[in-house]
Symmetry: C2
Subunit: 263 residues, 2 copies
DNA sequence: ATTATAAGTATCATAATATGATACGTCAAC
DNA sequence: GTTGACGTATCATATTATGATACTTATAAT
């Protein structure tokens, strides 16, 4: 087995991380054999690595079924993340106010490669489970948050993203036509916000307003998800959007100092 | 250097995890040197491990300051955790209803060794930052959630916990006297809920109602934090507690099937 | 009941891989 | 201009991870 860049790359650590990544929404509890299969590591390696992760408190082990599960340590990592991300501390109180004010679900999303990731979620209504938990990554092109951010990027970069970033048909109404997405983003660049309908789940409307960094590029967005059964595009623009934008604009200025050089 | 249990323990992986754990609320961004210092690993090892974590996307690196930060992957781990914990899916919609109903901050806490950990938080009011984010661990004896859970434990075990579990004076009014805590827990065992005041932060009152597992032991609690400026103990018991208990009781039954053998 | 299959656990000789000492480059402070 | 602190790169050595093998349980099939 060849190493990636030899001497300053520790293979065993990387393999251990493979085990951690084997757990996701479809794989919540894994046996040793499943773990081996999913990681492509052999039985012995899996055994040792899983045991190490267990001993170190990263994996819980059911003593009767012998299966592994993410431990509470996985939540502590989110805790550490929150402190390390300067945006969160700035945004949180404002997001709380906003969600109370609107009475609708408010999210904070950041750009993460060609995806967006929800870093904070304040659910106000019953929704599907995945919409209530943080850390969810979605293709940027299919989300209002992603489009609102992309709209602030330099023309060339934006073009490239629209052409190459991934799109996954989550619902029958997910927009697969990139030209259509391009025009949606163009609108967003003009208006300063983005609205999307039924991209991730049917009858869901998302509105997003970008949070702009020191260089004029958005790196995050405040987003609001509402039901198409109770809201129309017009009422969203009239009732939700102004407050949403106020919030996003109130967060942005704090970052003309911060931020620089993070990849 | 001796190994912990030799052949099924991978030292390099454990060391890598040490690096991850070096990040916390007081250490949000670490240089190579700081990382080495905090982990006790030498310069070379730190270099290699940090580089591996960077390459594998677990650490972001600021190309100008050369410092490391937790990456978005840390949030994805929370995402995976949420799916794997069967409690969350059951509890989330009920917690949302409760927080909307009460208009006050609602938390879901689980027992984690001698601490409690907040696994879900629905902030409704502005509070201090740490109270808004998940993954926070607090000494069980000093929290309403911890006490309400402990109250459901068998006498002997409860006794032992009260004598040995850690207490940290977070505020001047944190109860340090274990006898006092014992009587608080005794009350809780009688009443089925726990109230604490000013344990973690001044002028904060916490109420908690336990979520009981198949064996009669609580493993989680629904908790509500309110300000002592606007609430009295009496009004909490009258207005908040009933709904809190309803919620906790509605969640419990779902677990008389689940759960068994997890350490 | 008996056998077969699969999964978890434990051991061990081998060599591959992590180790940390060393040296070089860069930047800031003095 | 010198010093020191820090990040980076290289390399010979042996420590440490490897994976084949065998043992032990559990579950399913005959």
């Amino acid at each position: 087995m060849k190493t990636k860049q030899d001497t300053l790359y520790v293979g065993s650590l990387a393999k251990g991380l493979r085990l951690l990544r084997a757990f996701d929404e479809g794989h919540t509890e894994l046996s040793l054999a499943e773990l081996a299969q999913r990681t492509g590591l052999d039985k012995s390696a899996t055994q040792r690595l899983a045991n190490t992760l267990h001993v170190e408190g990263m994996l819980d082990k059911n003593s009767v079924t012998r299966r592994f599960r993410p431990s509470h340590a996985w939540l502590q990592m989110a805790y550490a993340y929150y402190w390390s991300d300067p945006l969160i501390g700035q945004a949180m109180p404002k997001l709380i106010s906003l969600s109370q004010d609107l009475g609708e679900t408010v999210n904070l999303a950041e750009i993460s490669g060609d995806h967006i990731i929800y870093v904070s979620r304040l659910p106000c209504k019953r929704t599907y489970f995945a919409a209530t938990i943080i850390g969810r990554r979605l293709p940027a092109l299919s989300t209002s948050a992603g489009r609102s951010m992309l709209a602030t990027f330099p023309e060339e970069e934006r073009q490239k993203a629209i052409e190459t970033w991934p799109i996954i048909p989550f619902t029958p109404s997910t927009t697969l036509d990139r030209a259509q997405i391009a025009s949606s983003i163009k609108e967003s660049a003009r208006d300063g916000y983005a609205i999307s309908t039924g991209q991730m789940i049917l009858n869901e409307i998302g509105v997003a307003s970008p949070i702009i960094g020191h260089d004029g590029r958005a790196f995050a967005a405040v987003q609001c998800s509402v039901s198409a059964h109770t809201w129309t595009r017009e009422r969203i623009v009239a009732d939700i959007l102004p407050k949403l934008q106020d919030t996003a604009n109130a967060i942005s200025p704090a970052f003309h100092a911060h931020h620089a050089g993070w990849d």
